[in-house]
């Protein structure tokens, strides 16, 4: 069986050139994982995987094609490479296409501590134990927790190898661990599910299994008896996970790929106020052990730390070299790349800088309003910023969480919502690559009964 290594990548690049490619890029990813799910104390599912794929992007001057395969024996690869170059020739020339400026490739790659070599893939028995412990904590916490969608522990390890025809080559390994629980609370009013999780690149830094289960149970229990509220306009507080969704939407609109297509409400807003002055949003691909960290981006450019939004002003877009050329700017180290697709753009580790307020203080500032803890649907229009999503959470009366609400929507426009962020919490916790503290928005339309 063929080995996947940088020598194979170099061979593939040479082969592409031999077929007539003027430039090329090879990405190889090998991954393995194990996931274990328990439900009501019993093993429900064990899943184990091994995968490896090779992706090729071939250029014939300004024409290009992208391809991927799992067949990495040299014989079948040679035919595959020839077909890819042939496909590139059939594509229209695009003056902006091409590899990045070679001067921008880093000569040294940082060690960001992305892999937990000590733990690697966690064995089935240990994985099941952790899942069981977190579900048990949920089930025993309250007699209204009567059912469960289970609890799951996942661990994964991957190795990325990347090389291009202008001499850049690099590789890195990473691990990731996550544990989640979904208990179900039930009373006369019906059933509600609660979800909570922890995720980290380092096994020892996961939050304790028991606390994940207990938090998930609390989240399910507080939803019991939820009702609709009357349609109104009121302040809306997003809990950290829901606020992270807002930050992600902003990053999507700030991505070069959306901007050059005019498919973004941030077209022409670079250097302008796009949020209230207390808002600073940071993208940092170099955070040690960050879930979104990597030593180089999807085109072999160095990742970095920068303010996307600083005191409310949009300071940069997020760009790969294609969208950068189209917009007349420099790439920002945000090229993302999956094996089978040409580079796109994505944030690395993205967060809203914490503010001075405790979540209690923020809730206390609202006389009558909504605290959102779950949202469903995809009602965000990136082109216009129009925002309308299904929500549930807690209704606030006189600064206190009064009762649970559901079957309502919250609507506004992201442009206005970011400009009216009134308070930012001090409760930033890293459990994903995009995170936020609690956020209060001055007023939105809440549709209900």
């Amino acid at each position: 069986m063929a080995e996947m290594d940088l020598a194979l990548a170099q061979w593939a690049l040479d082969e592409a050139k031999r077929c007539g490619a003027t430039a090329a890029e090879v990405l190889m990813v090998g991954a393995e994982s194990l996931s274990a799910r328990v439900r009501l104390g019993e093993t429900e599912k064990l899943k184990s995987s091994r995968e490896r794929r090779l992706g090729l992007r071939a250029f014939v001057e300004h024409r290009s094609a992208t391809s991927s395969t799992a067949e990495i024996e040299r014989d079948s690869l040679a035919a595959f490479i020839a077909e890819t170059v042939k496909l590139a020739r059939l594509t229209a020339p695009d003056p902006w296409s091409g590899l990045p400026d070679p001067a921008l490739h880093p000569s040294r790659l940082p060690d960001l501590g992305l892999a937990d070599d000590e733990h690697g893939i966690i064995g089935a028995q240990k994985a099941l134990e952790l899942a069981r412990a977190s579900e048990y904590a949920a089930l025993k916490s309250d007699n209204r927790i009567k059912n469960s969608e289970g609890a799951e522990f996942d661990s994964g390890r991957y190795h990325v190898m990347f090389a291009n025809s202008q001499g850049f080559a690099g590789e890195y390994s990473g691990t990731s661990y996550s544990l989640s629980a979904m208990p179900i609370a039930q009373d006369d009013s019906g059933m509600q599910v609660g979800y909570w999780y922890t995720a980290n690149r380092m096994f020892d830094r996961l939050e304790p299994a028991e606390s994940i289960g207990a938090t998930a149970a609390k989240r399910a229990l507080r939803r019991l008896g939820a009702r609709k509220v009357e349609t109104t306009r009121a302040p809306v507080i997003f809990d950290p996970d829901m606020a992270a969704g807002l930050i992600r939407s902003l990053a999507g609109a700030a991505s070069g790929t959306s901007l050059y297509k005019s498919a973004s409400f941030l077209v022409g807003r670079l250097g302008h106020r796009v949020a209230s002055t207390n808002v600073t949003i940071v993208d940092d691909g170099t955070m040690p052990s960050g879930l979104g960290s990597k030593p180089f981006d999807g085109e072999g450019l160095a990742t970095n730390r920068k303010n996307l939004v600083e005191n409310g002003v949009l300071k940069t877009y997020l760009l790969d070299s294609y969208s950068a050329r189209r917009l007349g700017l420099a790439p920002t180290g945000n090229a993302s790349r999956s094996v089978g697709a040409p580079p796109g753009v994505s944030p690395t580790n993205l967060y809203l800088e914490p503010g001075p307020y405790t979540p209690e203080r923020i809730i206390g500032s609202v006389k009558r309003g909504l605290y959102v803890t779950e949202m469903i649907g995809f009602g965000v229009n990136a082109v216009t910023g129009d925002y309308s999503r299904g929500a549930s959470g807690m209704w606030i009366e006189d600064g206190e969480l009064a009762y649970p609400v559901q079957e309502i929507t919250i609507a506004g426009n992201l442009k206005d919502m970011f400009m009216s962020i009134e308070m930012i919490g001090n409760d930033l916790v890293w459990r994903s690559s995009v995170v936020s503290p609690t956020v209060k928005i001055a007023e939105m339309t809440i549709a209900g009964a």
Binding site: S49, E51, L87, D94, K261, I376, T409
Partner: protein, 482 residues
């Protein structure tokens, strides 16, 4: 025609030098502990995509993937292991991993010698695969789409069009000795248009496809309709005013708004959620969950549809399942595991995204049968309400039954007439009671153009929906105008 199109059962045996006795051996390994069932799922997928922007076809891509998944079931436990390296050794290793869920030693069933071939439907036999069309011809069509969309209105500023085609060969080998195999073509043509009028910028999207040949898009010039529809929607939205907020009468147009059924009741009627008792529909078979005007079907056997399959991904021939009959809940959609545990029959709804995933109950084509009203009468009957004709995505919370779906083209109805377009808004309702509020069903049932993809537990599969024009007396519209 390539041999695999005629005998997909032979394709994997030839390709990987596999014999039936090797398959027996691997299934034997999988069943060395106390288990009820084991199967192997082989997949070989070829896909190509072409995309146009700024009037040039500047993106092409191609992918080849292959792999095998080994599954072992013991009571309600599932062990699953997969590899993209298909050899007897890797499959035995996968079988050893998958059987770890069956703790006790000692066989409970004896594997049957592999050989009986499962008869499949013949819903999408094609003369040529969608991948056989020359790239030049595909590129030319995308360019013509660009021209048509731009000609629609001078305010059309950006046109993005793409064509994606794949052919998947699958084979399922079961511990009951059965072999089921299929060749599954799938393609989709999509158009997105951005229109600008000063600082006002709006988007429109349309497309279609199915398990069809290239010429499907040329017949009746469907591609031209896709281009014009995307442009029309973007232009209409330039004039859209703020959408209303609150509970009101909503009329859903026919076709793609059938996403209502998919979210509001479809997911809640999948066997896994009901076996576990975690669905808002759990234990409600035989009860009224809709007005008597509503009959809802899931049918995986409609010719050439995106959601159709000759066999599901466990080798069961697909079927037609009545979910709701004149308002009464009749049935769930099942895969093998959940059917066995619920002592019901599998319904051919066991599906998976790829060899990297274990199957679970999923929808195929889900739709409501036509009623007797005319669409005009439905609109005329409404004094004040919303008429929603096109939608983006939707989602549901299975456990409490609350679901959303987001309109991308909608109008106000005032005094029985469709008037101004309104901005997109999310509609939210309660699955178990939204259909009880259906007071009119028109005679114009239509299936969607073939664009749907459903996500569940991290797995995406192609699906279809369909709906006649219907009137719902009371659903919450999430606009900004309170």
């Amino acid at each position: 025609m390539a041999d695999e199109l005629i005998k997909p059962e032979k394709f994997f045996l030839n390709r990987f030098g596999m014999t039936e006795s090797a398959l027996d051996l691997i299934l034997g390994t999988a069943l060395e502990r106390k288990a009820d069932y084991a199967d192997l799922y082989f997949e070989y997928r070829n896909a190509e995509a072409l995309a146009l922007e700024d009037s040039i076809v500047n993106h092409t891509s191609k992918s080849v993937s292959q792999g095998v998944g080994v599954r072992v079931c013991a009571e309600d436990r599932t062990g699953y292991a997969y590899s993209d390296e298909v050899t007897v050794d890797t499959m035995r290793l996968a079988a050893e991993t998958a059987r770890a869920i069956a703790q006790e030693t000692g066989r409970s069933i004896a594997p049957v010698h592999v050989g009986a071939i499962v008869k499949r439907h013949n819903l999408y036999e094609l003369e040529s695969t969608p991948l056989d069309v020359p790239v030049e011809a595909r590129a030319r069509l995308l360019s013509e789409i660009d021209t048509v969309a731009r000609a629609y209105d001078p305010r059309v500023k950006k046109v993005m069009a793409s064509f994606a085609a794949e052919q998947k060969v699958v084979m399922i080998v079961t511990s009951e000795g059965k072999i089921a195999a299929d060749v599954q073509p799938l393609c989709r043509l999509s158009v997105t248009v951005i229109a600008e009028d000063g600082h006002n910028r709006q988007v429109g999207t349309y497309g279609g496809g199915g398990r069809v040949e290239w010429r499907y898009f040329l017949e009746g010039e469907k591609w031209r309709e896709y281009a014009r529809e995307a442009a029309r929607q973007a232009i209409v939205n330039l004039d859209a005013v703020d959408a209303p907020a609150g509970e009101m009468v909503v009329v859903l147009g026919h076709g793609w708004p059938g996403i209502l059924l998919h979210e509001a009741i479809g997911h809640g009627l999948e066997g896994d959620f009901n076996r576990k008792g975690v669905s808002a529909f759990s234990g409600r078979i035989g009860q009224r969950v809709a007005s008597e005007l509503c009959t809802v079907i899931d049918d995986g056997t409609i010719r050439n549809r995106r959601g159709s399959l000759n066999i599901d991904d466990e080798g069961t021939p697909t079927g037609r399942t009545v979910l709701i009959e004149k308002g009464i809940l009749r049935g769930y959609m099942q895969d093998r595991l959940n059917a066995r545990l619920m002592k019901m029959e599998p319904t051919g709804n066991g599906r998976r995204e790829s060899f990297a995933h274990a199957p679970m109950p999923r929808m195929t084509n889900t739709f409501m049968l036509s009623g007797e009203s005319t669409p005009e009468d439905v609109i005329k009957s409404v004094r004040n309400g919303l008429y929603a004709v096109s939608f983006g995505g939707g989602q549901v919370d299975i456990t409490n039954g609350k679901f959303v779906f987001s309109a991308s083209e909608a109008y106000l109805i005032e005094d029985g007439r469709v008037t101004r377009p309104v901005k997109g808004a999310t509609l939210i309702g309660n699955g178990p009671d939204v259909l009880t509020r259906v007071t009119m069903v028109a005679n114009d049932m239509h299936l969607d153009p073939g664009i749907g993809t459903c996500g569940k537990d991290g797995q995406s599969v192609p699906v279809g929906v369909g709906l006649p024009t219907i009137r719902i007396d009371g659903i919450t519209v999430g606009g900004t105008r309170a």
